[in-house]
């Protein structure tokens, strides 16, 4: 059972990595607007929507 002394800290490292990845995602603005990106892909690249 001593393997858990290594596996659990390893799991914690992954946890920290997951939290860090999430914080990066939020910081880079991926959660600011959840609706538009889904529809943006359907628009032509060469024409911008009217402001």
């Amino acid at each position: 059972m001593t393997i858990i002394y290594m596996l659990i800290p390893l799991g914690l490292v992954l946890l920290v990595a997951a939290v860090a990845a999430f914080i990066w995602a939020v910081r880079s603005g991926q959660f600011e607007d959840l609706a538009t990106p889904a529809e943006r892909i359907l628009l032509d690249d060469d024409r911008r929507p009217p402001e």
Partner: protein
Amino acid sequence: MSEVRQARGEADWSCYDRAAVQSKFVTRQRDGLAVASMLIGGVRCSACVCLLEEKIGGLTGVRAIRVDALTTRAEIVWDPGVIPLSKLFAAISELGYTPQPYAADLVEHALGLEQRQSLYRLIIAGLGMMQVLSFAVALYAGALDAMDPEIQRFLRLVSLVVASPVVLYSGMPFFTGALRGILARRPGMDVPVALAIGAAFTASVWNTFRGSGEVYFDSATMFVFFLSVARFLELTGRRRALSMTGALARQMPATVTRIVDGGIEAIGIDELAAGDLLMVRPGAVFPADGIVERDEIRVDESLLTGESRAVVRRPGDRVAGGSLNLMHAARVRVENVGADTVIAEIGRLIVGARDDKPRSVQIADRLAGWFVVAVLFIAAVVGICWWLIDATRAFEIVLAVLVVSCPCALALATPAVYTVATSALARLGLLIRNARVLDELHKVTDIVLDKTGTITRHAFGIGQVRVFGQLPEDRCVEIAAALEAQSEHPIALAFRAQRSAAGAQNVRAVTGRGLEGSVAGREYRIGTLEFVADFAASDTAGIGPGDTEQTIVFLADRDRVLARFAIEEQLRPGTEQALREFERRGKTITIASGDRAAPVRVVAQRLGIDRWSAALSPASKLQMVRGMQQAGHRVAMIGDGINDAPVLAGADVSIALASGTSLAQVSADCVIINENLGTLCSALDVATESRRIVRQNLSWAVGYNLLAMPLAATGLLAPWMAALGMSASSLLVTMNALRLSRRIPQSASPPMGPLDQIVSARARG
């Protein structure tokens, strides 16, 4: 220490005493008092509002304070001679809130920060909870199966490491909220929550290091996570409202063109001062109230007053900020700026109307207060009893009582349903800004509609056409369309829908009368009867203006008057059908318009509505709705203009149209984005359905509580069982809410998403 902090606080806020800084968000009144509008960070519930109103309102020199819990905006009326503004800022920050002058950019900024923080809190609580629960399963299994004490110690230690950020970071809002509630002597739901989390965590930490006794990391993290979900859902709704409030400031153009010696310069709207000479392009909005300097101009005030016709303003006349310049570039001398403009005045009327709105929320808060006191009382009694029976078990039993009594199911019951209903309605084409709407919608007895822009579109169309000569009707329309194609006058736009192959030459506009020009070599005039009669050789007797309630234009050539066009407002598609639907549901329909009586009567007759009032000012519209409310009616108001904004804020439920002004949208509880009033019928169905589900959820949550509380108090329920049961109950409530999305009726017309809007905007060119 406190002196040091105070000194520092004063130094921090003193910049707000400078007149130049204040000019952005402070208005001076005639009686020497001043009004400051600000944004107060940290306001989360009506308890905070009460605290602020008590403490700040109690300062000498402060005449009045109003805080909006939903948008966290505050308005303070104070006497600058008695207390400087910096003192007010310092006092607010001393209460633990962060005051900011209200400006759109700050709203945006605060919004972004709050959004990010709540997301961080939620995800850390969620991931942490999963880890702690997996350790907890091992610990429970180990307890049954004689685990190695060394491993048990290790598992408890890692649980502590993971649970600490969950409790101390994700759970922080509950601790600060509870502290604030206790300091204000108005304990909210945060108090038992903070007590349960804090006690469970402290005891677990203590027992971990002591090496004996129970640990409750699983209960504590689960509790934090589920409450964070409830709080996040609630915050999402409030954020949407906040972002729409920011639109208020964006109503105004960002830059304006100022005429200075020898040229023009673009300046920010903030730099605009009274006395500046401005150039306003045709099609642009006047940024401030002002006096027309030269040239006659034509402005569209329909958003401000509801008047459907363009208004002529001559040199020396006033134009109101927010109205639209229809003609050539106008020169305007600025009279009032920003907070002093007509628009800003209406804005304050809105805030007042909204604050006086009858609120069921307050009752809910008072109930929550009693509930909290009762829970704390029961927990204390149970604790004392168990202390006398078996002191070793007293702690875990009190903990179980606290966890059970403050169930997430109760906290989630309403927000979960509202979130599902809100997103479902958004798919149908109705944006809900305030979840309270769902409660109120089904109680509505009366529906009051604005005319201009709501029942009708902001456009004219050709109604009845009468032909007097040999020329066929379609040829007359074609000639008229060719002539009018050269004009930007609103009446000319009525002819835009007509395709005209013919081109007109030498078109000349005669202001206030009509147009003249030649089509295919023949000269024509179009306009008022006198204007064309001057031109046509033949007698105009018998043609007569006829029905004077409508706008009529005549077409004539050199010989005779050819045709008579009735110009009428175009009804919004689907309106008539929607009104019939409302009537079928037993709602009384009334039209309240700021326009003149004649056009309102025409529209009311066309739709078969008996109850209508015209020529109402924003204040009298509000008064009318107030009267209906006092008579016991529940009023839903639908409007789009700035003049509708105060009444929208004062109605029980208010609905704005997406094509309307952002001021109206800000004041309304919901916005119809697909422009079809029929969407509201679907909303009525959804409201009824969601209310049913909220009731189911609440009765489940309360029933569960009544059942679990005695079990916890008698010691049959361990804290982990309480936390597990609570989570299961929350899950059930959420699943029940999700049922709603499958029951929502499909809309008659396809909703318009942002993509459709972009596509259709392109199609229009």
